[in-house]
Symmetry: C2
Subunit: 347 residues, 2 copies
């Protein structure tokens, strides 16, 4: 653990309470913890004095005895250009909002671990009982690091090709892809291209499978291009340029990373083409990026509120060894149609 310059605040000890109550420290300890043989009136008196003095038990000493931190971490391994961004209102923070409430209901505090390289040191130092990792890639460093420490980990979204599969909440990536592609076809798209990230995440793996199956069933050409997540919007724009220059007649682009999708819309418009009249665009996460894009992006409601609660509950179960559920399936993803793929929605 690195040395930090934080000072310890002065704190009342059990000795102060014992002195004020005129009893031994052992009696104070037994009285406050409802243990041992203590006269009920003495117990009451000690509790009263402890409260008057503002005495709080030494949490760290208690934790050392019980081995519990009563804290869990929420960890994102997406690069900052995707997980963060100018408004900082992304996928992770939407999950964090619900997760902190769900954790609270279990008596657990939620610690946030941001998607930055510097977080690696923090992962070694956090006093936590478990962690929820958001959409880990295969061989995710954060997961490995936490497991090496003996911290219980569950993931939101399946970890692909994990050596030891983590318990996870199924984000139903295949179904998400299917409803987006189905919607594009219903809007008249005949030649849909797929733009995904290069990293081995379930969302890309599942989306690609849904796309290949969809194209196969309709004899649609398979046009897939990949971009680096870390490149964010401009990587999406670059990839779109390559798509349009190398393929004629593309009339729809499915770009599940919202930052990529915004780049796609900008590139299409910069070429004097119209969204959605010339090319329809859809994305996955229905966040601020999708909603504030011009035109707003058709996206998928992943029901992250409910997903977060399921993840916290699953983690709690595994920490306690109560159950051995490996997979929990959340609510089905539902389509949110907007003007980027439908002229009707733009009205």
């Amino acid at each position: 653990m690195s040395e930090s310059p934080l000072r310890a605040p002065a704190r009342l000890t059990i000795a102060d309470v014992a002195r004020a109550a005129g009893v031994s420290r052992t009696t104070v300890s037994h009285a406050l913890n409802d243990r041992g043989q203590v006269d009920p009136r003495t117990r009451e008196k000690v509790k009263q004095i402890a409260q008057q003095l503002g005495y709080r038990p030494n949490l760290r000493a208690q934790r050392l005895r019980t081995g519990k931190a009563n804290s869990i971490a929420l960890v994102s391994s997406m690069p900052f250009s995707v997980a963060g961004g100018p408004s900082r209102l992304g996928f992770m923070m939407e999950i964090a909002g619900s997760a902190m409430e769900a954790a609270l209901r279990q008596g657990l505090a939620l610690v946030l671990v941001p998607p930055l390289d510097a977080a690696e040191a923090l992962l070694d130092e956090l006093d936590i009982d478990g962690a929820v990792v958001i959409e880990p890639a295969a061989h995710d460093r954060n997961v490995t690091q936490l497991q090496r420490r003996g911290v219980q980990v569950v993931s939101i979204g399946r970890q692909p090709e994990g050596d030891q599969a983590l318990p996870y909440i199924d984000l139903q990536g295949y179904e998400t892809g299917r409803i987006l592609l189905q919607h594009l076809a219903e809007q008249g798209a005949l030649k849909t291209a797929l733009l995904i990230g290069t990293q081995p995440r379930h969302s890309y793996v599942d989306m690609e499978q849904a796309y290949r199956d969809f194209a196969g069933a309709r004899e649609m050409p398979v046009i897939i291009v990949r971009a680096e997540e870390a490149g964010g919007e401009s990587a999406g724009r670059e990839a779109c340029r390559a798509l349009l220059e190398n393929h004629l007649g593309i009339d729809a682009i499915c770009a599940p990373v919202d930052a990529f999708a915004v780049g796609v819309v900008k590139e299409i418009q910069a070429r004097g083409l119209r969204v959605p009249e010339d090319i329809r665009v859809v994305t996955r996460y229905d966040g601020l990026r999708a909603q504030s894009c011009q035109p707003p992006l058709t996206a998928v409601n992943l029901h992250l509120d409910e997903i977060s609660v399921l993840a916290i509950d699953l983690l709690f179960e595994h920490i306690n060894g109560q159950v051995k559920r490996r997979v929990v399936t959340g609510p089905a993803p539902s389509l949110v149609v907007r003007a980027s793929s439908s002229t009707a929605a733009g009205a």
Copy 2:
């Protein structure tokens, strides 16, 4: 502290390392902490073996010695109907996104404390060195509770009428009010009403002062209505109804709480009036609610990214007793004009 059913994970101890290295536990401790008289080769060997075994120092024992938690909390005292909401993407989560990065740079973990009554118990149990409280009301219970524990607290936004004024980041509520009212006047508004919350928060106090000064300087009638934050959107709608039924000729409404503003727009539209042609509407926080309202709401960029970093830095300084800054002024708020107040912006 309440008992939680969390189990302690098995953990390698210093004795395991000592056994494997064939040295005493004291030697291991000295070697790993670079203390005492240990032969450099032994030190290196112990470190290597500790790493091979995956030994991590017992953080809780270390914390007990140093008295440091290396964690800080982010606390919101706004009711859930305002701070949370269907999408959970509010003011608090935007601050949390930047604050977790800023905390990380100081080597501190950020713990989220949600705006719920149940959080009160958590505030007593959290092992933290300090807390950032978002826009506390006067006599805020969360602040009192934390201070009683000896936890260092700073606030984002001044705490009004505090017995002991907290160190704070100035959110410049007066200036925020001034630019909103100035903008409405420039858009042709002659009779602007103010809709604020009933709670004693700096944002309402400052906004009201700015409004009274503005009205006084222009001989505009002072029309102020208050609503309960906990009522959210429907409370805003109720208040708007009262405004329009009791006052003729209102052509603009300034509603700094975004949930209220959305209710205002719905009430105006339900009456067959148009926003902004008949009544202009503006709000304060430029979040998802403002941006996804129909029409989108003119709002203020409070630069919460930078504000969050300033708050974490100020808290860190106070925890360490390095400086005695009581007030830090952040970047000036800037207007974001949208279709709710400007026909030009709607084009």
